[in-house]
């Protein structure tokens, strides 16, 4: 119980009148109206000005605001919680409705075991706390895509109290097709007819009342991006929840032939009711008739269900013989028939399509001649934005990290282990997590612009022919392109790929796209061992090798691991829309934060581990060549000997696991180049050129340098990339797979280069 002044108390919740301030006159006046201490009252919708309307003993009374300020009430703490699932087609504006309902009270996570993002938030209305679960946007509830399975299982297993279906008002037919499937799940349903402003402007009028009556479902017209209709939607949710017992069930009549078969199946099912009591019976029967693979599998695993399987095969056969088409097609036809009939009665059109503007843009943007140049321009702009605009902030973070390190080391004994651990290990590790933050925020900002505007679907449309040739989907293009900058954002960008196989393939080949951090190594080695006029070609050959490897591996993965048909490329091209700043920033923040939280911890731990290995044992006194990491380098020397590498290179390669650019720094330290240990350092260049084995043979040659570059190009994705692979694939298994197969591949490639080169006399 919380004491409050009536003026400030929340509306629509139960209040208990506790005291009245002021003289006897006021007291009497109020008691005459029934406002006696202890009385339960309710404040109705309150406005900023004007009298306060109260509900007392079932009667409405109005009192002045001054008076309301003198009345003390006790507010009951919220007690009722409703769980609702927010569903809808992709591009229906579901995200903006979710944001409007929940404000900032959101939580982003994953569904257990899968990488589908789970968003949850809280809304309040009157006495109710409403837990809103945002389910993935889907077109249907068959079990063919991961998103659909997640959405369907959540509704069937977690049994939310109510479902809110966000419907794109400008595309009622297809959106309501999804709704017809929801109706069969027998969970109370509320419609949010979103983008109602666009529909109205296009001359579409919906008779809401008639519609609600026909289907027995409340409708609220909303405009998500302008936050219109949110309170009304909440009201519909709570009212529907309160009346759920008396809600009438509307089911689609599929016509005599199908209904006959359904009732046969229902009879069969009723005999086995305990088995399927978690599912709505009629829905279950329809799914059997549709040959839904999840449901069939479920039935098959249970004993004594032969009867059900037999009947469903019989029914399917019967329908097929009558209609010369399969039941799922007939059922879909009937659903669309139901929708058409309904829309015919309640929707009137007075003007032509709302798609005019969008069609005009498409005419230019996916034009046969201009389409590709425009697309290349957009890609170039995005690449520039992501990598150039984040350059400065990254520099600031590095500088802040250095300053922080210098500040902290002042308090710690100079040169001690603890100083190194804290400054280089921990602060350095945190730095290497944070240094990616600007680039990732920029990435998600740009991706959101492409996604929210509708251009992302066009990109897939334009490049699909090419991507399909290499066994991928049009949507794999952007991650591949971003890989040339940095694999971390690139792997995160694979989220736009719907099919799991395509997505994992794209993730696993991504590290072969030579990222920016490998460039310093190339620059150093090419500068030392290759002539000026050859350098461009050498560099290009490496990028090409990476790309070719990626393409070959994509084909191999498709052939041997992610076998089976690729998902159909049947994709909506949504109308162009202007993204809202709020939407863009919300996306950017959510995704960026998730990176810091999930990948960050793994990267940090890895950095500390590598640092510790290079700083211990203590008696090495900071001499890297005596550290554990150098010992590991020496230990693996026999393995890398056939590639022409010595232990120093091995050590640098191990240290480079943290981040590829560290390879150069480590070589610098091992060759004693002193403070000046970047790729332009003269000392390091000379040391590399002159380094000899005890027998006088030179350690490096152009051939070995090239083998080393090939190895660096292909081996282990850096620690950050590995952490992101783990997060995005949802399993440690794929991360270890990626690490080991790429390293194996690197070894083979470097072996071929070195040994082949020697045979050819280089």
């Amino acid at each position: 119980m919380k004491k409050k002044r009536l003026l400030d108390a929340r509306s629509r919740v139960e209040l208990t009148l506790s005291a009245i301030e002021g003289g006897k006159g006021r007291m009497r006046k109020l008691t005459d109206m029934g406002l006696i201490p202890g009385e339960k009252i309710r404040k109705l919708e309150s406005s900023q000005s004007g009298p306060v309307i109260l509900l007392v003993k079932g009667a409405k009374i109005a009192i002045g605001r001054g008076m309301a300020d003198k009345i003390i009430v006790e507010e009951k703490i919220i007690k009722k919680t409703i769980t609702i699932a927010l569903v809808g087609n992709p591009n229906s504006g579901k995200t903006s409705i979710f944001n409007n309902l929940t404000g900032t009270r959101q939580h982003v996570g994953n569904y257990p075991g899968v990488t589908v993002e789970k968003k949850e938030g809280l809304a309040r209305y009157g006495d109710y706390t409403i837990r809103v679960i945002d389910l993935p946007g889907t077109y249907s509830l068959t079990a063919y895509s991961l998103d659909e399975v997640v959405a369907r299982n959540f509704i069937l297993e977690a049994k939310p109290d109510l479902i809110v279906d966000v419907v794109d008002s400008t595309n009622l037919e297809r959106n309501l097709y999804f709704a017809t499937q929801l109706m069969e799940l027998e969970v109370p349903l509320v419609f949010a007819f979103n983008m109602s402003d666009i529909a109205k402007a296009a001359g579409q009028h919906i008779n809401e009342e008639a519609f609600s009556r026909l289907v027995g479902i409340k409708i609220t017209q909303t405009v998500g991006i302008k936050n219109k209709g949110t309170t009304q939607l909440l009201k519909s949710i709570v009212e529907t929840y309160q009346q759920k017992e008396q809600a009438k069930k509307i089911s689609i009549n599929y016509g005599k032939e199908i209904e006959d078969e359904l009732s046969k199946l229902l009879n069969c099912l009723k005999a086995r009711e305990p088995l399927i009591k978690q599912y709505p019976l009629r829905w279950f029967a329809i799914k059997l008739l549709e040959d839904d693979k999840d449901i069939i599998d479920f039935v098959k695993t249970e004993a004594g269900t032969e009867e059900i399987l037999k009947q469903s095969a019989l029914s399917r056969g019967h329908i097929m013989s009558i209609f010369a088409d399969d039941p799922e097609t007939i059922i879909a036809d009937r659903r669309y028939g139901f929708i058409n009939g309904m829309l015919h009665e309640v929707v009137t059109h007075t003007a032509e399509s709302h798609l005019k503007a969008s069609d005009m843009i498409d005419r230019v943007v996916v034009n046969r001649i201009a389409g590709i140049p425009i697309f290349l321009g957009v890609m170039w702009l995005m690449f520039k934005c992501i990598f150039i605009l984040s350059e400065k902030p990254m520099e600031w973070i590095e500088r802040a990290q250095a300053a922080m390190g210098a500040f902290v080391s002042g308090f710690l004994p100079e040169g001690s282990f603890i100083q190194g651990l804290i400054v280089d290990g921990i602060i350095g590790g945190v730095g290497s997590v944070l240094v990616f933050v600007p680039i990732i925020f920029m990435l998600f900002f740009c991706m959101s612009i492409l996604e929210d505007s509708g251009y992302m679907a066009r990109i897939a449309f334009i490049v699909d022919k090419f991507m399909h040739k290499i066994g991928l989907h049009g949507r794999s293009f952007i991650p591949m392109l971003l890989g040339f900058g940095c694999n971390v954002p690139a792997i995160m960008a694979t989220r736009v790929i719907e099919s799991k196989k395509d997505r994992l393939t794209t993730i696993l080949i991504n590290p072969f796209m030579s990222c920016g951090a490998k460039l310093p190594i190339y620059t150093l080695l090419i500068g030392v061992f290759f002539s000026k006029h050859a350098s461009g070609n050498v560099l290009f050959s490496l990028y090409l090798l990476g790309f070719v490897t990626a393409v070959i591996m994509a084909k191999m993965l498709r052939k041997f691991i992610f076998t089976g048909e690729s998902a159909p490329f049947v994709m909506e091209l949504p109308p162009y829309r202007l993204p809202t700043l709020r939407g863009l920033f919300t996306h950017m923040w959510e995704r960026g934060w998730l990176y810091i939280k999930k990948a960050g911890t793994v990267i940090l731990l890895g950095c500390i581990l590598i640092w510790t290995l290079s700083a211990l044992p203590i008696h090495a006194q900071g001499d890297l060549s005596k550290s554990y990491i150098a010992r590991i380098g020496k230990f693996i020397e026999p393995v890398i000997k056939p590639l022409g590498f010595d232990w120093k290179i091995g050590t640098a390669l191990i240290a480079g696991v943290v981040a590829k650019e560290i390879v150069v720094g480590t070589l610098g330290v091992l060759y004693g180049a002193g403070e000046d240990k970047n790729e332009h350092s003269l000392n390091l260049r000379n040391a590399l050129r002159e380094d000899k084995y005890p027998d006088g043979r030179k350690v490096f040659s152009p051939l070995i340098a090239y083998a080393l570059m090939v190895f660096v190009l292909l081996y282990i994705p850096c620690l950050s990339a590995a952490a992101v692979i783990r997060k995005e694939s949802g399993s440690w298994g794929w991360m270890f797979f990626s690490i080991s197969y790429s390293t194996l591949l690197a070894w083979i490639a470097a072996f071929i280069v070195y040994q082949g080169g020697r045979l050819l006399g280089f």
Binding site: Y139, S140, T142, Y177, E328, D362, H468, P568, F569, V570
Partner: protein
Amino acid sequence: MDTVALMIPGDKAKVVKLSGKVNLRKKLLDMGIVSGAVIEMIRHAPLGDPIQIKIKGYHLSLRKTEASHILIKSLR
């Protein structure tokens, strides 16, 4: 019989039947390609494939191989 893959931009046709694997057929049904629905061919992608069609008031893209499983009757 004609299929959507053979339509040229500007053509309109009625869907008669779907062929192909279950996976594809269900996806097409979900997207509103049911018999009797009217399809308008809009354009080919700049590289010639996939294609963009209009159905039930919205735009859809699909590869030609997929479009060849939608059997149609021309409305010209």
